[in-house]
Amino acid sequence: MGWFTRRKEGITTRTKDKKETPEGLWYKCKRCKVIVSNEDHRKNLWVCKNCGHHERINAPEYFQLLFDEEQYTELNAKMTSGDPLKFEDTKKYTDRYQASVAKTGLNDAVSTAYGQLHGREVVIGAMNFNFIGGSMGSVVGEKISRAIDHALRNELPFIMISKSGGARMMEAAFSLMQMAKTSAKLARLGEAGLPYVSVLTDPTTGGVTASFAMLGDINIAEPNALIGFAGPRVVRETIGKDLPDGFQRSEFLLEHGFLDFIVERNCLKQRIDQFLGMTYPLEWDTEQTAS
């Protein structure tokens, strides 16, 4: 017998009466709902201390995480889209684009930079999911392509952190061809014997999965990230059945042989470094034979 008895059933606070917690102080985990201070959350690399949920973060956060002393030089930071098709659905593409720039303070769905990772120069690309769903249009393709050029010119490893809903519809076939552009460039990187690490994070789907995200010398992923070609809703509609638990999650892909390993965010830098230590620099063989 409880101390109190409920006299009225279903007491809920109406949305308009709910009190907002001031922004910027607390973080409530999307999965386990545990609340921690934003400061602690940031210190824990935006991973929930309670349940290990990896919160989605953007390129600047990954750059802070991976580059030594948070020092890096961004490539083509000012590049924006040209709206080649004058695309308009219920809104104009240019309006959507400007709204995203204003909202995120970023210029498109990918940022690319070079700097040191444990003392080794590398080129890193990372995607911004809250910029039109991290979708790939001309800018994303072009910036990745040029980042790979930078890696090729300077004989550097390339690391790509994917987080995208796929190709950007508002640039239609231009978006589609970015899959060809980025993959063709990666083929050149491969021919040059330079390492390419693909890091898949929540979510990575569509045209990004069907191009650069799946082409790493190693493909690695953060835990429980949604990774697939078709989105889960489309698959469910196709087969007319509910999807099994864990379908299209990192662990599922690892089990089916499409990932090399799953990596927690706090180990990401160390594991990438470990891999690069095995595969780079290129001169290892010749120097060994010479000595």
Binding site: N76, K78, M79, T80, S81, G82, D83, P84, L85, E88, D89, T90, G137, S138, V139, G141, E142, S145, A167, M169, E171, A172, A173, F174, S175, L176, M177, Q178, M179, A180, K181, S183, A184, K185, L186, A187, R188, E191, G207, T209, A210, S211, F212, A213, M214, L215, I227, G228, F229, A230, V234, V235, T238, I239, L243, F247, Q248, H256, G257, F258
Partner: protein
């Protein structure tokens, strides 16, 4: 022959024409004047309709049930000298993706392409031209074989998309398509890609990277079908015509945006109105392209292939 909605005026005239001819035969009354009149009207009506097709009408033509599919082209353009090959050597043989050796004139060529079914039963058998990962891997196996024997590759693209099924995801649909794009970008033999019907998104691009990318006149090629685009951006299936317009997916628009290399004209009213003529045009064009590409040294060929895709995209700053 099935008529599409916008072809109804043609259907009517053709029906009248047939009636007049039948009547003339039965009754031996001279109908030649009205027949000539009708024939004239038929030609001008056809011209009017087919000269001013909207993007959505092109999409409908590209899906016309009587349109020739890959195997029909292959039978015709190789004059029957076609050796179909099967299987991806991993899990199975994908019926939505076909391929094999064929003689194009004097040249042995490796062909791959999506295949749609010609009737209800076959449509299911061919999975509506939607390949699974094993289809893309079979295509890659065959293209690698072409590279080994230094023979050109011709791909015929006709798909509403890569299959979005559960097993497809388990077996890595994304990886399969990505791998094909990657490998095709550096395959050391000439590649010609021809869109003969629908070119939907990654499913098309998975066999779509080449030195020449050509589209038949009444086909479409884009990142998404007009229907799905409508459902996502307009949140309704009813805006497919607007979506088709907005996506700039016709051969004409694709050429204007420099996303393909050329357009191959179709017989008036579409490939299905005169299949033999269509096959002949395609065969001649492929022969011409192969003859030209074979003269280019392979390193130059690969540089130009990369350069072409490198230049696609419009950015500022």
């Amino acid at each position: 022959m099935d008529y599409l909605d916008f072809e109804k005026p043609i259907e009517e005239i053709e029906a009248q024409l047939k009636k007049s001819r039948d009547l003339e035969q039965e009754t031996e009354v001279d109908m030649s004047k009205s027949i000539r009149e009708l024939e004239k009207r038929l030609v001008s009506t056809k011209k009017d309709i087919y000269k001013n097709l909207s993007a959505w009408q092109r999409v409908q033509l590209s899906r016309h049930p009587q349109r020739p599919y890959s195997l029909a082209y292959l039978e015709a353009i190789t004059a029957g000298d076609f050796l179909e090959l099967h299987g991806d050597r991993h899990v199975k043989d994908d019926k939505a993706m076909i391929g094999g050796w064929g003689k194009l004139g004097d040249f042995p060529v490796m062909f791959v392409g999506q295949q749609k079914g010609v009737n209800t039963k076959m449509r299911q058998y061919r999975n509506f031209g939607m390949a699974n990962p094993e289809g893309y891997r079979k295509a890659l196996r065959l293209m690698k074989m072409a590279e080994k024997f230094q023979r050109p590759v011709v791909t015929l693209i006709d798909t509403p998309g890569a299959f979005p099924g559960l097993e497809a995801e388990e077996r890595g649909q994304g990886e399969a398509i990505a791998r094909n794009i990657y490998e095709m970008s550096k395959l050391r033999v000439p590649i010609i890609c021809l869109i003969i019907g629908e070119g939907a998104s990654g499913g098309a691009l998975g066999i779509g990277v080449g030195d020449r990318v050509l589209m038949l006149e009444n086909t479409w090629y884009s990142v998404i079908s007009p229907e799905s685009c409508s459902s996502i951006l307009w949140r309704s299936w009813d805006y497919k015509a607007q979506a088709a317009e907005a996506l700039k997916l016709t051969a004409e628009d694709m050429l204007k945006n420099k996303l393909i290399d050329d357009i191959i004209p179709e017989p008036l009213g579409g490939a299905h109105r005169n299949r033999e003529e269509m096959f002949e045009v395609v065969q001649k064009r492929l022969l011409k392209e192969i003859t030209a590409l074979r003269k280019t040294p392979v390193e130059k060929l690969l540089d130009k292939r990369l350069e072409k895709f490198e230049q696609m995209g419009v950015t500022k700053g």
